[in-house]
């Protein structure tokens, strides 16, 4: 069952579209915002509320990069691996994170603090290399600046 707050948030967007299906991406983002990720149960809950089949909702949930169909840590690090960041030090940053946190791409630290994911160009190319942590952007990264930035998330 969706919570009252989830229903209220989804309902606020429903009227923006000519067809109920169009609210599915927003509904998935809202539920992920409350629950951290999209479980099978969450898919079924959204489908029931919008009168769609679970498969119709899951087709969307499994397509978009930033909808998480598996649990993630308390903070998600999105490390940009596109061309400008590649040219300016992406490899060194990824290796630094691997040794520092003990995780590779797609993995979560054993204490559940961080999940590391690849992301396509963040549009911070003039500040490359760059990453996002949760909703914050960090540019002009070096391994040291990365450590300083990550220290703020517990």
């Amino acid at each position: 069952m969706l919570s009252e707050i989830e229903i209220r948030d989804i309902a606020a967007h429903r009227g923006h579209y000519a067809d109920v299906r169009a609210v599915v991406p927003e509904a998935l983002k809202i539920v992920q915002g409350h629950r951290g990720w999209i479980s099978d149960e969450a898919v079924a809950d959204i489908a029931a509320y919008l009168d769609l089949t679970p498969d119709e909702v899951d087709a969307v949930a499994t397509f978009y990069n930033l909808l998480f169909r598996r649990p993630v840590g308390r903070h998600v690090i999105l490390l940009c691996d596109s061309v400008s960041c590649h040219l300016t030090g992406y490899d060194a940053l990824r290796e630094h994170l691997a040794s520092r946190l003990g995780i590779g791409l797609g993995e979560t630290t054993s204490d559940g603090r961080f999940t590391l994911l690849p992301v396509a160009c963040l549009g911070l190319c003039e500040q490359a290399p760059a990453m996002m942590v949760d909703e914050d952007v960090h540019g002009n990264l070096t391994p040291q600046k990365m450590d300083e930035a990550l220290a703020c998330y517990d």
């Binding site: 169009a22 397509f63 978009y64 930033l66 003039e126």
Partner: protein, 432 residues
Amino acid sequence: MTEPLREKPLTRNIRPGAEPLDLRAYEASGGYQGLRRALKMTPEEIQQEVMKSNLRGRGGAGFPTGKKWTFVPMGEGARRPKYLVVNADEMEPGTMKDRFLMEGDPHQVVEGAIIAAYAVQADVAYIFLRWAYKLSTRRLARAIAEAREAGYLGKNVLGSGWALEMHLHTSAGRYMCGDETGLLDALQGRRATPRSKPPYPQVVGLWGKPTVVNNVETVACVPHIAARGAEWFRSLSHTGDGGTKIFGASGRLRRPGLWELPMGTTLREIIEEHAGGMADGLRLRGLLPGGASTEFLTAEHLDTRMDFSEVQKVGSRMGTGTVVVLDDRNCPVGMLLTLERFFARESCGWCTPCREGLPWVVRTLEALESGCGEPRDLEVLDMHARLLGPGATFCALAPGAAEPLVGALRHFRADFERHVAEKRCPWRQPCP
């Protein structure tokens, strides 16, 4: 060639690091005068004015904006509702210009979208924004709310009798959403797969209704054309393409950044003057003129003027106009591998050459980079460069992926051959 006016309409209100202008300050700077002027004209007159301005779509394809609008069915017989969608799903690697405009002057984007919607008599406008642009989300949401409050949106826009509603749609991340028809499917709450064209979205678009999709920078130009006219807009440019352009440069440069310059500014001026040239001790090996889906150029092309026609003459495309520079300490094969990994990962899997070909290209490049390359691999890459090209797929992702592949094979062939001959990447330490 006549000397362009040195005005910077798009960035006149942008102060990087500072809060953008709110509605009142934007109005005080002349904001919404373009809309007021547009509403005194007929939609067809606005279409003609934008056509005369030679504004070409800034998303990368360069299709004339006014002409795109003329394909929309007009008049009483047109099917409704009609839609205007601003493509703010900027995700082309190496491209950060739309973020700069949305964060820096959100009302300019909103005003441009309203005028574009008026020009095609749209009933509803969406700004389709990528998930990662959090600051843009907040600032655009506020600008839309302020515009609604002030009567620039709603049931009777500035008393004109025309109604427009505007919604901000934030996506959940996928490069395919930037494709015009993939975007429409994404907006309808489906997987973003491309549609067959024709019919074109202007006739059969969102929910089957007439729809125009315009890029952020394109709509940002529109208020200025409406306020000051087509002739003025054309005189901002060095060349036949109208207006200024937000150019950018990234890579190992002294001052990577973004600048509003006359359309037709040379690559040399962008890289050497504005970006300050290469970082210490580095030499320019090559460049992508406008994002990941444009062909490599080299130092011999630096005097090329950056506009949609001129860059095509030297075998590439201006694309998004944000240059990515390759230096001599980075391996060209490694750079190409990064580009192709992106395309392979972002492919939606709808068309065979893209779904099957791109992973094949990636595996071949990985083999070259790890010292397992064979002479035959270059033929394999040449083959895919052909198979991924225009006409074999529904959307432009695969042809886009083919462009840097073709360019790298042309300009850096000797580097590929060295990888094969030496059985290693020459830019890395040999294996112990």
